[in-house]
Amino acid sequence: MSEIVVVAPGLLTTVQDLGREGFGPLGVSPSGAADAVSLRIGNRLVGNAGGAAALEMTLLGGAFQFSQVVVAALTGSDFSATLDGASVEPWLSFEVQPGQTLRLGPTRSGARCYLCVRGGIEVKPLLNSASTHLLSGLGGHEGRALRKGDVLKVGAARGSFRKRAVAPKELEQLAPRKVLRATLGPQSDRFSGASQRTFYESTYRVAEESNRMGLRLEGPAVPEGARGDASGKARGDALGKARGEMISEGVSLGAVQIAAGGLPIILFVEQQTTGGYAKIANVISADFHRLGQLRPRGEIRFELVEWETARRLLIEQEKLLASDKLIMEC
């Protein structure tokens, strides 16, 4: 039985895979890796299926020991990893022997680092997924962040160790960006031209209160309405809500909601499935993984793109992730 022992949990470490899509009618949001691209690449490096479960670490990584030899890879941000004190590079596969300690420290760049192991992390699946949903305490390892002393099972794996690395030029195309692309949102027309200009021309800072549910932004407020009274009028909703709210509707991943006060919130993997705030824009799918690497005080700006552009960028990214050029055998 191959196991991982949590010697130190790190700041917020959870079991994640690519999430449980398809359960909107139950009010269940997909959860899953905040930076799904890094998770997928990590899995490719160790020879797993793309959606195998891994450990997602946040800002400060943990320390782990293994009961048997494992093939592992670290992807996402560089968390200054060492194996028995010797430095471990991210974006390549390596072997860990029983008795060795894999230790990660604070991030050198973005918010999250993924530890992928060959065979994947095995937990009792919930609705076809190993992902943890922290708010409801569902899924993953007991529905919570890992603690010191936790023991996780590693799935069986066949085949010998192949040392693999990620091609630097290809990896560069997936790197974090300061400017996030966005398409229009379902309530974009409720925001005046001036408000939209403010939104697209301002630099916003990620607030401390940001998490897997959403990224709160600090910066210039984006007031709603002022586009004639039609959009400012209450919409037959007797909830006694403040101006700016509307009838609750389904919300998509990456939606940029403008709450009371005019500050944007980018809804993220553990988002509520429905919401009653106006949405000015939606981050493009190809940039979702970049949201997962944003950390408090990180700065971003938004760029409006056409629907076709968003689609093209996603298709190109998927091609890249599946490409032979991405992974090099060493």
Binding site: G24, L26, L135, A238, I247, G250, L253, Q272, I284
Partner: protein
């Protein structure tokens, strides 16, 4: 008769991999039934590439895989579904009773709601338990059902500042809606009581106690009965 037909359903792109179907812009039982019908039709005849559905009061968010579908093609397909939507037979609504122990430490806002609405706490309880509520949809967290509508005399705005932690099973009201918190989460609804029944269980078939279209009635129970049910 108040039914929103295919001709007036409105489509809106929500993101590069989702679109919204609106059945009018008012919360009505008829609009919600159209949502349920479309949801049912999509369940019976799924469209390749559709990945998730988020129903709400009078709209349905459809999430899709952009590698398999485009907005235009999906909208065309959904409009075709809408021409057949009136034929969809909705299952007979399930009637669900939820036992609630009102007031005391279970209902910290009961007194204030009574004062705000100019009645006694006993009257608030009686009114809240007097009717059968429709489950408009599940959202916010797994198993949270938006129930409506409250009797007019009970309509109360949500708390000015939400609580950081609402106990599991808390029964609250906000505006003309009522609902039960399935998990300990932040929450801004005014709490009248608590139920010992688990709203969401991973070992229950269907997981959530309530589903869209169900009818819910709250049944006042004593502390003793609450404790009995909680132990069961």
């Amino acid at each position: 008769m108040g039914r929103v037909s295919n001709g007036t359903a409105r489509f809106e792109r929500a993101s590069d991999q989702s679109l919204l179907v609106y059945f009018g812009d008012k919360i009505t039982v008829e609009a919600n039934e159209q949502v349920r019908r479309l949801l049912r039709l999509l369940d019976l005849q799924s469209i390749t590439g559709v990945r998730n559905l988020h129903p709400a009061y009078c709209s349905l968010l459809v999430k899709f895989d952009a590698l398999e579908l485009r907005h235009e093609a999906l909208e065309k397909k959904l409009r075709e579904y809408l021409t057949r939507i009136d034929e969809v037979k909705l299952p007979k609504p399930r009637d669900v009773e939820i036992p609630v122990c009102y007031g005391g430490e279970f209902g910290p806002d009961l007194q204030e709601v009574a004062v705000l609405r100019g009645m006694t706490p006993a009257q608030v309880i009686e009114l809240h338990a007097s009717r059968s509520y429709l489950v408009y949809f599940l959202g916010f967290v797994p198993g949270f059902a938006y129930l409506g509508e409250l009797p007019e005399a009970l309509v109360t705005p949500r708390l000015p500042t939400p609580r950081k932690k609402v106990p599991v099973g808390s029964v609250g009201i906000a505006g003309n809606q009522t609902g039960v918190y399935p998990f300990e989460t932040p929450g801004g609804w005014r709490l009248l009581g608590r139920t010992p029944v688990a709203m969401f269980r991973t070992d229950r078939k269907g997981l959530s106690l309530l589903s869209i279209g169900d009818r819910v009635r709250f049944v006042p129970v004593t502390r003793e009965r609450f404790a009995e049910l909680a132990r069961a």
